[in-house]
Symmetry: C2
Subunit: 407 residues, 2 copies
């Protein structure tokens, strides 16, 4: 007889995080888990016993399909960092007493590297206290910066949205005879995976962005302006994709130049923003031509109307694989994707210790960039192209995509 | 025997302006016009004889379908203002000599109120000089601010994009337990039609934006903050949609408050931008809560991956109707839409003098707003809902929408 299961979502939203939730729910149900609980707002909600019986929220096959088409975290999220249990055992005692009270044997957490830190700590406490609860992490992040896995669910859909939107922005820009520069600001604090995805717009009917600037390389104003001078000789409408987290040689974020104060989140990350606006003002001043900053902001992580079929299917599979791992007795692990082949694309699921993912950021390899660091090479295209393939038709009601709302 | 025809595109891009071009091309071809010319970059290109034979650019039925799915102006655009011909006849002589040389009898111009000014002036000069060239305008603008027509092609698709994206932003925002305010900045200098469209996101699964602020009403900081205080009692994640052109009682744009200098275009319009950023900083300072400005920028006018089927079909019909008007001997007119019925939605095409549209902006009627001016009433919903209905599947290649590129 299987035990009860609980699942939570943590960190920033993606367009497909709920597809992983659907995968957990359906697989746990089909496997015979008696009750499938959902934490409201992750571990932070669990600590206050804010828990729902998911069968009351996902009532039909149609609901499962709606859930897959719903962006952001159906259950709500949190950014809560578990303390070191040798220093502060209280939250651990609380979590385990709640799990015991609800007779929960499997704890699944869908999130990024901070969430894998939570899985790692909980599983280690579980071992230390001889608990039999299993803790499994399911990868999720648009940033694609998790170690040990070929890529992360959420990245493909954000990449598809970014590439499609950059393609449309280039269409929009190239119709004028006047010179112009568009700077597109894309999420990515330390890893430029999403900014690289803008290059996927390069195709038979589109030049793609003319330059990309990543946090993996040092941003240098002189070399940047020299590149723009070169491109101006060839074309009037220039499009540049930049990561929000690009920094100059002195380690300062470009977006800090604009003088706006930057607050920090609970993990001590500075809240970035303003890179595109600053650079477009800078270019406008330096060159006296029309320049515009375009910021994708939260649109790039919640555009469920344009998901990648590959991504949303894999997100579901990751959720299902997490349930299988837990049932098979694994703990402290994260589901991974191992690439079998680029072309035709094939992956298989695997797993790794959550500790190998926690608090680590996987960056774009520098040998996936062109020599001048201002573009991606064929290696990136081979890697990323399969991840944006295919669509999932939204369910349209009154002209708009319908979502499942927890209420 | 019919004469040759020329068509141009002017002003800002939309997601469906090329569907009107497709309607002109196909209808002119089917009607038997010998040559169908396209102006590159509107009247400005024509003055330099930058003209293409469209049959060489649109070669098949598949090309017509691709053209309909291509955002922005296939032919390029301009923002050129024709002078008063009694003061400067030169450009008129030039245009008419080029038209004569190419044996062109019908001149179609797809654009907004500035473009209708061009149609009006050219047709009046044509009358004054006894030319037999016919001049017809085809309405186009995401802003929906053209007089004499129920609505304009381009509005429905921008409205659908805005409503769908606001819905996704609300999903993204409501998952946190922390209080937050998102300010979404939407295009609209003097007319708030697009900002109103954000309210279409209100549905069974979504609250919609909590406030909307339009250029039609005076923006008042006190009443705005009072409204936010009221909403904070009910919910944690607040979403506000504002037009870029909102002004305070002294006639000053809110976006002028941030101190960035504002340049002007050739029609003397100030280039707006920064309203959301300014207001989100203001709210963050006043309330000490997380606030974010999200600017849709050019994304809202070129999102051909999410067009309204109603809109793209009507844009095509408007192009076709323009050809019929010209062939039937009309001149100095613009194609209009007259609404026959709201529910079920029916329209028919008509026409009006271009002079009745030129340089006039149709605003949102104040009695379509709620009493406090911070929301739209049922009248707006009845008007706008039909305009966003239906989809047109993009042609996807390598995971991205394929467009037709003039090269």
């Amino acid at each position: 007889m299987l035990g009860n299961i609980i699942v939570g979502q943590s960190g920033g939203p993606t367009a497909v995080i709920n597809s992983s939730l659907a995968g957990v729910f359906k697989t746990a149900k089909d496997s015979g888990c008696p009750v499938i609980y959902g934490m409201r707002n992750g571990i932070e909600g669990l600590l206050r016993e804010r828990v729902v019986d998911l069968s009351e929220k996902i009532k039909s096959g149609l609901d499962i399909e709606l859930l897959k088409r719903t962006p952001s975290s159906f259950l709500g999220t949190c950014r809560y960092k578990m303390p070191d249990y040798t220093k502060d055992e209280e939250p651990y005692k609380k979590v385990f007493s709640i799990l015991k009270k609800m007779d929960i044997k499997y704890f699944l957490y869908i999130g990024g590297n901070d969430s894998m830190d939570t899985i790692d700590k909980l599983s280690k406490y579980s071992d230390a206290t001889n608990s039999d609860v299993r803790f499994i992490g399911i990868p999720k992040t648009i940033d694609n910066d998790l170690a040990m896995t070929d890529h992360t669910p959420g990245y493909g859909s954000a990449a598809k949205y970014i590439a499609a939107t950059v393609k449309e922005i280039i269409c929009d820009a190239r119709i004028y005879e006047l010179e112009s520069v568009n700077i597109v600001e894309i999420m990515g604090r330390d890893a430029g995976w999403l900014t690289c995805a803008s290059a996927l717009s390069r195709s038979e009917d589109c030049d793609g962005p003319d330059l990309i600037c990543l946090p993996e390389t040092v941003f240098d104003y002189n070399s940047f302006m020299n590149k723009i001078h070169e491109i101006r000789k060839e074309k009037t409408a220039i499009t540049i994709a930049v990561s929000e987290g690009i920094k100059t040689a002195d380690g300062k974020y470009v977006c800090e130049e604009n003088g706006r104060s930057m607050s920090e989140d609970v993990f001590g990350h500075k809240m970035l923003g303003g890179t595109a606006l600053y650079l477009s003002d800078f270019i406008g001043r330096e060159l006296g031509i029309k320049s515009r900053g375009i910021v994708f902001s939260t649109l790039q992580r919640c555009a469920s109307h344009l998901v990648s079929r590959c991504d949303i299917t894999e997100a579901y599979i990751a959720g299902a694989a997490g349930v299988h791992l837990a049932i098979n007795g694994e703990t402290g692990k994260m589901v991974t994707f191992d690439r079998v082949c680029d072309n035709p694309y094939q992956i298989k699921t695997g797993c790794c210790p959550a500790s190998a993912v926690a608090n680590i950021e996987k960056k774009v390899p520098l040998d996936w960039l062109t020599n001048d660091n201002y573009y991606v090479s064929e290696k990136f295209f081979d890697y990323a192209r399969p991840l944006i393939i295919g669509e999932l038709t939204p369910f349209m009601v009154d002209g708009l995509p319908r979502h499942l709302f927890i209420g």
